[in-house]
């Protein structure tokens, strides 16, 4: 499907316009973070800023113990993403490739487990963590984020494994691979895009969670970034410029995570092309 040059240019233009539209609210957040309070609500037409001030960023980074919060958030988030990916992949294989009693029961369980609104689960989960003596520890958050992203991870990976023809594995086994080996060498690489998508999802979900982060942790040095972000609002006034600057800083790790795994998305694609 080679495209002519005008076609490519037209597509690129469409792509850039779409990107700009999607970007706009984020752009507005970024622009606000560079504004002084008076410029945030200005009667002037201010689509493109004329002056920049980095005071909000200085305030945000100088506030509290940012590195500690960042570290805690990274531990909890990366930990829960890894756990969910491992447990999810392990579960997706038999669900998709094997026949066994209880398979459908498990699938239904995975689905039903996602139906409930998380805000309703908050009291039982609190009691559970209290009785397990895990309150005020980072593992309590890690476990919650792991569990809340797991059904989704299982299900997505189940779908992705289903989408990979079993014949490929069979061919590898004919070539002398063990079943495990065939899965690892054939299916797993093809699973790349699925793993990336689900990990980005899990990362962002865990990264942004506030309620459990607030309620489960009582000691300041163990708090995570969402709580830090909330500290810009006081009963008296909200430093919105500060909130926006903090939000920009806050979104950076998720972006870095995406850029790190994004290559995998592409390599997964090429792997698929080679093998197809």
């Amino acid at each position: 499907m080679r495209k002519s040059l005008p076609q490519r240019i037209a597509l690129s233009v469409v792509g850039v316009v779409v990107a700009l539209l999607i970007l706009f609210p984020t752009y507005w957040m970024f622009v606000t973070s560079l504004r002084t309070p008076g410029e945030i609500l200005s009667p002037k037409y201010d689509l493109i800023p004329t002056s920049f001030s980095f005071g909000n960023f200085a305030t945000a980074l100088g506030k509290d113990n940012f590195p500690t919060y960042l570290m805690n958030s990274l531990i909890v988030t990366v930990g829960s993403v890894l756990c969910a990916l491992v447990a999810g992949t392990l579960a997706a294989i038999p669900l998709s490739r094997l026949r066994f009693t209880g398979r459908k029961g498990f699938l239904v369980l995975v689905m039903v487990a996602q139906l409930a609104p998380v805000s309703a689960l908050f009291i039982p989960l609190f009691l559970l963590m209290r009785d397990a003596g895990l309150l005020n520890t980072l593992p309590s958050l890690l476990l919650i984020y792991f569990a809340t992203t797991l059904p989704f991870t299982v299900w997505m990976l189940y779908g992705f494994v289903n989408g990979i023809p079993y014949e490929l594995e069979e061919a590898a086994m004919i070539d002398g691979c063990s079943q495990t080996g065939a899965f690892r060498r054939v299916t797993l690489p093809l699973l790349g895009p699925g793993l990336v998508t689900t990990s980005v999802f899990s990362f962002i979900t865990a990264w942004n969670e506030y309620l459990f982060a607030l309620v489960f942790i009582q000691d300041k040095p163990k708090e995570t970034l969402p709580v830090w972000l909330a500290s810009f609002r006081t009963a008296f006034a909200t430093d919105w410029g500060g909130v926006m600057a903090a939000s920009v800083i806050y979104a950076v790790p998720a972006l870095i995570f995406f850029l790190l795994v994004q290559r995998k998305l592409v390599s997964g694609a090429t792997a698929g092309a080679v093998k197809g």
């Binding site: 002084t36 309070p37 008076g38 410029e39 945030i40 609500l41 200005s42 009667p43 305030t59 100088g62 506030k63 509290d64 113990n65 908050f122 009291i123 609190f126 009691l127 209290r130 309150l135 005020n136 506030y210 309620l211 607030l214 309620v215 009582q218 000691d219 300041k220 040095p221 709580v227 909330a230 500290s231 609002r233 006081t234 009963a235 008296f236 006034a237 909200t238 430093d239 919105w240 500060g242």
Partner: protein, 434 residues
């Protein structure tokens, strides 16, 4: 605003410092205590809200407390407002609840009305300077005749205005009656009305605390106690008169503020900061937020109490603020009481006043006098009132406040005065009645 941020940052730094020592509590430190009369030991965990007390105050307070009670460590933690209710609820049910907590005054009854949640402090009032308690706050901390909350601090709204604009418009002295107020708006409009961005009074449609003042000023109320229960009284002629005055202010001032939002959406201090607003009804420290935009506003801004329909008086004002309480399952009630006792003492109360709020357990308001906005607030606070001390009042303020909907419906002309008040009355009764 910057000041408050700095204070918060300082408080948080302090928190980290004290939290570091928290681990070494318990018996070993108790053993070293000697001179303290009560022989207190252990750790007192104190949760105050962000922005409540300046770090300099809590810093000194915690130090003095630990010196006076060598066996006790203070674990002081600043809490965020967002989600505080869930955090408090779970913390009280958790194994290691904090020992001293700050509860918003309109929330206190919800906690106090439940058996075994808060410690009954009725017997300790005297040691907490009980004779000088701020009445509006003391009421909110009392349930069924017993005291559960000790007044911490309060604040009330006033009219913040541009002295320079008033002068240019020929308004020589701040209005002291509703008529003078309306008159001042007219003069300001005549002088500055040619500027399309000018607003004589910034008045969003849902500033329901201001409405409370007008209703009270007309002799009405939002609800009346009926035994243990409350009955909404928004459909009384007095309440309607208050609502009418609100509309008059909105109509005469021609404010461009949204009719379907309160003073936080958008933040009115920021609008004031842009310099095109002559008056707003707000709290003293909103000026600091505005001054972040334009520092020259500090010198140009003054305040006057919300005027009354009776010339020479000021309207009653809603007292917003917090109480201090001790969870019933606190492991260290004795030390917690000592802590509240020290915080209620004249020394720290005057520091609270100096920080710009009305102290809860001291009638000495001289600390507020040095600030022109603070002194106006202090004077008006004498006429401060609280919302009904109903355990269900939290449900009114937690969202979808029928009083706010009533304001919007009437101001936008969607409902008539009678219809709007009748609907709101029914909705309010559903929330707090019976």
């Amino acid at each position: 605003m910057k000041r408050w941020l700095k204070l918060a940052a300082g408080a948080a730094a302090l928190t980290l410092a004290t939290a570091g020592c928290a681990g070494s509590s318990g018996s070993d430190t108790a053993a070293s205590s000697s001179g303290a009369p009560a022989q207190l030991s252990g750790t007192v965990t104190v949760w105050l809200m962000t922005g409540s007390a300046p770090a300099t105050l809590t810093d000194a307070l915690n130090k003095e407390f630990e010196t006076a009670h060598p066996g006790v460590k203070v674990k002081y933690e600043v809490q965020q407002w967002d989600g505080i209710q869930q955090k408090l609820t779970t913390a009280l049910a958790g194994g290691t609840p904090p020992d001293v907590i700050e509860i918003g005054n309109t929330q206190t009854a919800a906690f106090a009305s439940q058996d075994g949640v808060l410690t009954d402090l009725s017997g300790d009032k005297d040691s907490f300077n009980g004779g000088q308690w701020l009445k509006g706050l003391a009421d909110s901390g009392t349930y069924d005749g017993k005291t559960y909350g000790v007044p911490f601090y309060a604040a009330n709204r006033e009219v913040i205005y541009r002295k320079d604009m008033f002068e240019q418009a020929g308004v020589t002295k701040p209005p002291t009656s509703n008529d003078e107020w309306i008159d001042a708006i007219g003069k300001l409009k005549t002088k500055f009305g040619s500027d399309p961005d000018f607003q004589a009074l910034y008045m969003p449609g849902q500033n329901w605390y201001a409405l409370l003042s007008f209703i009270w000023d007309n002799g009405g109320d939002i609800a009346k106690a009926d035994g243990k229960n409350y009955k909404a009284t928004l459909d009384t002629p007095e309440a309607k008169a208050g609502l009418d005055f609100y509309k008059k202010l909105v109509d005469t001032s021609g404010t461009k503020a949204p009719k379907d939002a309160d003073e936080a959406k958008p933040q009115q201090a920021t609008v004031y900061g842009a310099g095109k607003v002559a008056m707003m009804i707000g709290l003293p420290w909103e000026l600091a937020t505005a001054a972040k935009t334009d520092p020259s506003l500090t010198a140009k801004t003054g305040a006057f109490a919300i005027p009354s329909k009776t010339a020479g008086q000021s309207a009653p004002v809603f007292l917003g603020g917090s109480n201090l309480a001790i969870p019933a399952n606190s492991k260290n009630v004795a030390a917690a009481k000592e802590y509240i006792k020290l915080l209620s003492s004249a020394k720290y109360q005057s520091q609270l006043a100096a920080a710009g709020v009305v102290p809860g357990t001291s009638t000495d308001l001289t600390g507020l006098d040095k600030d022109p906005l603070g002194s106006v607030m202090a004077k008006a606070s004498a006429n401060g009132k609280a919302v009904p001390a109903s355990p269900k009042w939290g449900d009114v303020e937690s969202g979808q406040n029928p009083v706010k909907d009533m304001l919007t419906a009437y101001l936008t002309g969607k409902k008539t005065l009678d219809q709007a008040t009748a609907d709101a009355n029914a909705a309010l009764n559903k929330l707090i009645g019976g």
